[in-house]
Amino acid sequence: MQPQDRERPAGGLTRRRFLQAGVAGATGLALSGVGGWLKQALAQLPPGSYNPQLQLSFPVEPGASLRILRWSQFVSTDQPTYERMAQDFTRRTGVPVRLEYEAWPDVQPKAAAAANVGAGPDIVLGFFDEPHLWPDKLVPVTDLADYLGRKYGGWFPVAPQYGHSAQMGEWIAVPIGAPGSCLNYRMSWVKEAGFDPDPAKFPKTTDEFLRLCRSLKSRGHPTGFALGKAVGDANSWCHWLLWTFGAHAVGPDNTTITLNAPETVNALEYGRQLFETMIPGVAGWLDPNNNRAFLAGEVALTNNGISIYFAAKNDFPEVAADMNHAVYPQGPAGRPTELHSFSQAYIFKYTRYPNAAKEFLRFMMEDPQYPRWINAMLGYVSHPLRAFTNLAVWRSDPKAVPFRDAVARMLPHSYQGTPGPKSARALSEFVIVDMVADALTGRRSVRDAILAAEARLKRIYEG
């Protein structure tokens, strides 16, 4: 491999470029064997945005070896595929790769220890603001991120918000995707409630959604959304609730707390009406509770990743046959405002082999490794680069399709501020979830819940 970076300026369609892309695409098709998505990518993307002719590789240091810390698999097909990919990398570059796995909430403390100590894994696959907690300890990856963006149709808007550090003026992490969260519902009960069970016809506005929930509840099939300290489920639906009504916690200057606004009141008032359609006990729900309740048929509708569907396919086939997924509806904000667990890979500066590390990340994010990995995860993780929109996994099971555009539809959890230590703290303290829980259960009035959350946020953001 030649250690060069041959660049072509992007944009501007010429017939030659289009033909080149077409030829390259066809060649890729023939060579990689996972070509279905390539054709569709070419068909759906703006011409010239997919640039397979771009090449980049980093000069791997002699005698290099890599230690990688990543989150444990959500699906049993993930790790074997990832390991095969790592072995493939070793074969091509001679760099041995050692993989370590941790349950996803435990990655951050381990990475934190490594950051503090100055030794540990070379590459970490983490979540949310992790890289922004120690931005000066990370290897800048701007060249890699720019290359991937130009080659694969561009990053979705949320990706640079997470990957780029304003403080450092560089990309400090490479976005790798997000486990998505969608509404999970029982089709037969939705039909009984008088609504079309087809995901494409599922309620698209918050008003219609509330009507559906009320109808479900009146027929003895309540909904259920976590309001306890459920790190995944509570955060995703509570932030959606706030944002879809145009409310947000902090302003773009990352200091002003903008929570105390009429939009927040509207969001919580709506939430209260939604709460009346829920099963009792949601205020104590952690992440597994809604899975259990849904699989047992106690709730007709909840929000979750694709894990309920997997468990159903294995152990509850009647539920699997009767369930489907839909994207969150939209309120007055008029556009998708979702929160998913954004994951990115970053390289610690203490590594002795930064080029080998960057080369590994490049290899991981390129065709055909990345599509193969996403397909192996059976819909669990969604892509951050536009060109990967039509991978085989999204065409194999129509029930997985609503999870496909998770990264495209999401906002950063720090909205409207930027990811960093303060937003990390606000997220880990469950400020938003507690506010929603207080207001919806009636523990506090809407006004008081907002004031309490605002006070907590002020302490966090203004120190």
């Binding site: 909430p105 403390p109 300290k229 006990g281 205020a283 230590p421 303290e429 207080d438 907590r456």
Partner: protein
């Protein structure tokens, strides 16, 4: 006739070297014996403890070293509404749980102190809640307190005493009560076994003398058992208080400190802030607040232990 040569073994004389002299010296030997234990305590207890206290005076985060900020963390915490709730939670949790464990443990010890068939088996079974790893029993309690699938709710509904569902972990006060109940279940054996051991040391002649003087059951307890057992009871209570105030596993597994921080204790809040949030200095400060309680407890127990 061959001459028989008898040789006597030479008496081995140890050279009076430095090592020999040291080993024979009582004081030096004592120091040598204690040093390994001291080292272990110093490295694994004193150093982390000192580091923790130091960190509580800095604004260290998990990625950055931080500067000295004096009492800044403590001032911040005292003004933090969540922290104030946690102080109340911990006080309530420790007080309620320890008192109940003491009373129930004592009753259990008194019951089991008598002679009856199967005494040994009962005493062994009685220890089980304490022996079972907390994380496992906490997981079981997580199911027992599930709003939909609770066995208690199911049983009450079957009998007909209940028609709805009990929101064990969703309502703040009910959540506190549920966790206190779980802690009591787990902690009773500690009191029972400790007090049982103490009861066994009470001389039966004292009871006989009391009976001769016309004492009834309650008076026997109040005038004979209780005074003899008081020092042991205080020590056991103090240890239990220390462990209850520092409880982590039970809370974390069942509620993570929720709902709305109603079941957060010092330990769980410190973990959430220091490890999950990354604010190590503040987490250390939260833990440091427990110190006065523990120091007081230790001093009380020292007083009673010395009297023994």
């Amino acid at each position: 006739m061959p001459s028989v040569q008898v040789t006597t073994a030479a008496r081995v004389v140890r050279p009076a070297g430095l090592v020999g002299r040291v080993l024979e010296n009582h004081h030096a030997l004592g120091v040598m014996m204690v040093t390994p234990a001291l080292l272990i305590l110093a490295i694994f207890l004193a150093y982390p403890f000192g580091l923790g206290v130091w960190l509580s005076f800095t604004n260290a985060t998990i990625g950055q070293a931080g500067r000295f900020v004096g009492l800044g963390n403590f001032r911040y915490l005292l003004g933090d509404s969540v922290f104030r709730v946690v102080v109340l939670n911990t006080t309530l949790y420790a007080a309620a749980a320890v008192v109940c464990k003491l009373v129930l443990g004592f009753l259990l010890a008194l019951l089991v102190n008598r002679e009856f068939r199967g005494k040994r088996i009962v005493r062994a079974i009685m220890l089980l809640p304490w022996i079972v790893p907390t994380s496992l029993s906490a997981l079981v309690f997580y199911w027992i307190y599930d709003p939909t699938f609770s066995i208690i709710t199911w049983a009450l509904r079957r009998i007909g005493l209940l028609h709805g569902f009990i929101n064990y972990l969703g309502d703040p006060n009910l959540a506190r009560a549920s966790l206190i109940a779980a802690n009591i279940w787990r902690g009773i054996p500690f009191f029972a076994i400790g007090l049982l051991a103490g009861l066994q040391t009470v001389s039966p002649t004292l009871y006989e003398a009391a009976a001769i003087d016309g004492a009834g059951t309650w008076q026997k307890f109040w005038f004979v058992t209780w005074p003899v057992l008081l020092p042991l009871t205080v020590v056991v209570t103090v240890f239990s208080t220390i462990m209850t105030v520092g409880d982590f596993q039970l809370i974390w597994i069942i509620t993570h400190g929720g709902p709305a921080n109603a079941t957060h204790l010092f330990g769980t809040l410190a973990y959430q802030r220091a490890i999950q949030g990354g604010f190590i200095g503040e987490g250390a400060a939260i833990s440091a607040f427990v110190l006065p309680v523990l120091v007081g407890a230790v001093m009380v127990s020292f007083h009673y232990l010395r009297r023994e």
